[in-house]
Amino acid sequence: MKNGLGQYQNVLLVGSSSQIGNAIVDFLPLSSSSRVFRVGLDSTSDFFLDLTSQVGTDSLNFIDELPDIDVAIFASGFLADSQNKESHAGITSMALVNFANLILLINRISLRMKVQGFGKIVILSSVAALRPRTENYVYGATKAGLDFYARGLHAQLKGTGVSILLVRPGFVCTKMTKSLEPAPFATTPEFVGKSVASALRGNTRVLYIPGILKFVFFALRLLPEWLFAKITSK
């Protein structure tokens, strides 16, 4: 539980190498005795978990040993490179990392948080989930599944004290996207971190980063297919 000064005691970060995830942790109000549990594959991980292959029940048992978690951040994400984005391996990895394995994890954490009666779950979706583009529709599809799941889970958690912050960033300049041309309204992981940390103080349910994308995508979703295709094709 947050301490008397609003500082988080225990934070769980899924995706220990995620720049966005780590940036969020950097901006969270933490005390000197706060603990951050990182889940992932790199050397900073406290719990090793490979999301690119099917995750079994037993490999998630570490969740039961954790202390009460105030915030769980799900920042792991995978974007296959341009050659692989429609290959068997690429689709499998994206589906597992962005969706299938992730919702298994979120499910376990939400059950854990229901028992403790409080907690925030930060789920990093993407604006790519809002309308498919020819360039990244597989990635978008996996994120759309996650997005859909998050909204459903939010409704399901009503009254338990646990809530969800669904984050839909636009293009973020990270390791994952370095080979891509930045889209309009591109941001940095730091900006995302700052926005998420401040949104966690309130009751925001869905957060667009930057905020203007909320209106941009509201408009884009209304466009007829031919016009949307024309705008987004290069």
Partner: protein
């Protein structure tokens, strides 16, 4: 237990809150019934932080444990754990008795007073509350009752229970020794002092003459430590009378003013505090006979003064430093001035002998309590800095008022923590008694 409703509770500081299930202490099955989040006994909810919160667990309401009886021809009173100090004193005063240790508010239950091992204005003379506790009846997590005494076989559990934050069991009743008094009035002496050193001097000199002593210290303006020192002694019976003198109004709680629930934002800001402190400092000195409850419970004049700190609430930082490090108080004043943290409530008191409580707060030295709104910038770092310094000079913070102390510093502040933990684990194998604080500090 599906019919129990989850209710949001917060500590007196209103800076922490959580949902829990309220269970009556009379419902023994529910009290010890399995809940993965355990249960925490609660009293009147006057602990500032999360000592009496238990997120998603059971919160035991001791309202049903309100009873009191004087044991035959003695000065020992058998009190239910849910009885408040105010109720006890209103029962005892007409019989010519008064509790030795009474806190600043009368709305503290006997169970809470023991669990926090509270101290009062009389600490330099009689020590903390548990010194006068003769017996406690405790409900343990396996469902059995146990009577524990300050001496003998049960001494170990007794010492873990007093000051044990309710984490060893649910107190049902306690036998408490009360002080015979001749009159329900207090002879009050009040002095204005103009510096911290003068304040310490006056307190030191006065403590040998007076049974009650406390000082209000101005935490705004120049932060030089000026303030008012309040002393009191029980009045004795007038010579010509054989009767106990009762002053009016001992029967009812003092009339208090209830603030309307309109305070969304904190109004305890430096400007208002400065104004208030000026008025408070210069207000006429009391020098007459005062009713005992007015003297003892100055804060109860406004029933819900804690709402003045707004939605985010406040915390009370209370620490004790040994006599040899009285200069630390000066440092605290300087730090508060540097950060422009103004507080209407700064209370300084000299503490006497420590009790046997393993997690007891009071020990010989000076204690200062400061109320601070949570929204103050840089507060976390400042208090962490205070804590580190405290540890190095042998001080400690008061757990029942805490909502933020670092787990790593705790064993240094409370050297008997490990022994206490061992006893707790021994008598509470299933770790049934837990609170948000016990989980936060891994107690």
């Amino acid at each position: 237990m599906a019919n129990l409703k989850r209710i949001r509770f917060s500590g007196w500081g209103r800076n922490m809150s959580s949902f829990s299930l309220s269970v009556s202490a009379s419902n023994r099955e529910a009290v010890i019934g399995a809940n993965p989040r355990g249960a925490t006994p609660t009293g009147a909810g006057r602990s500032y932080g999360d000592s009496a919160l238990n997120s998603n667990g059971n919160r035991i309401d001791t309202f049903s444990l309100k009873f009191v009886e004087r044991l035959e021809n003695s000065n020992v009173f058998r009190c239910g754990a849910g009885l408040t100090i105010g109720e006890l004193s209103r029962f005892a005063i007409p019989r010519g008795f008064y509790p030795y240790v009474v806190p600043g508010t009368e709305f503290v239950t006997i169970g809470g007073a023991i669990a926090a091992d509270i101290h009062g204005k009389s600490h330099h003379r009689v020590g903390s509350f548990s010194k006068k506790v003769r017996r406690i009846k405790l409900l343990l997590s396996h469902g059995g009752f146990m009577e524990i005494f300050p001496h003998g076989d049960t001494e170990e559990l007794f010492n873990a229970t007093i000051g044990g934050l309710g984490l060893t069991g649910l107190m049902i009743e306690a036998d408490i020794e009360l002080m015979p008094i001749e009159c329900s009035l207090i002879e009050v002496t009040e002095k204005r002092v103009y510096s911290l050193s003068e304040m310490l001097e006056v307190l030191r000199a006065g403590d040998s003459q007076y049974f009650y002593s406390v000082a209000w210290i101005e935490l705004s303006g120049k932060y030089v430590g000026r303030g008012r020192v309040l002393f009191g002694n029980h009045c004795s019976r007038p010579h010509d009378s054989q009767l106990f003198r009762l002053d009016a109004d001992w029967r009812k709680p003092r009339k208090s003013f209830v603030l309307p629930p309109i305070f969304r934002i904190n109004i305890i800001v430096p400007l208002f505090v400065k104004l208030f402190n000026q008025i408070w400092f210069w207000k006429p000195l009391a020098k007459s006979k005062t009713q005992i409850n007015t003297f003892m419970h100055p804060l109860d004049g406004i029933a819900n003064w804690n709402v003045l700190y707004g939605k985010r609430g406040f915390l009370q930082y209370q620490f004790v430093v040994p006599h040899s490090h009285a200069d630390y108080l000066e440092k605290v004043l300087v730090s508060l001035r540097e950060r422009r943290i103004a507080s209407p409530l700064g209370v300084l008191k000299q503490l006497g002998e420590a009790s046997n409580a393993l997690l007891g707060f009071a020990k010989p030295g000076w204690t200062l309590a400061v109320d601070i709104p949570v929204g103050v910038t840089g507060l976390a770092e400042l208090l962490d800095e205070f804590d580190r310094e405290l540890v190095s000079i042998g001080g400690r913070v008061y757990l029942v008022k805490d909502s933020r102390v670092s787990e790593t510093l705790l064993p240094l502040m409370y050297p008997s923590l490990e022994i206490w933990k061992k006893i707790k684990r021994q008598y509470d194998k299933s770790n049934h008694w837990q609170s948000d604080q016990s989980r936060r500090l891994n107690l």
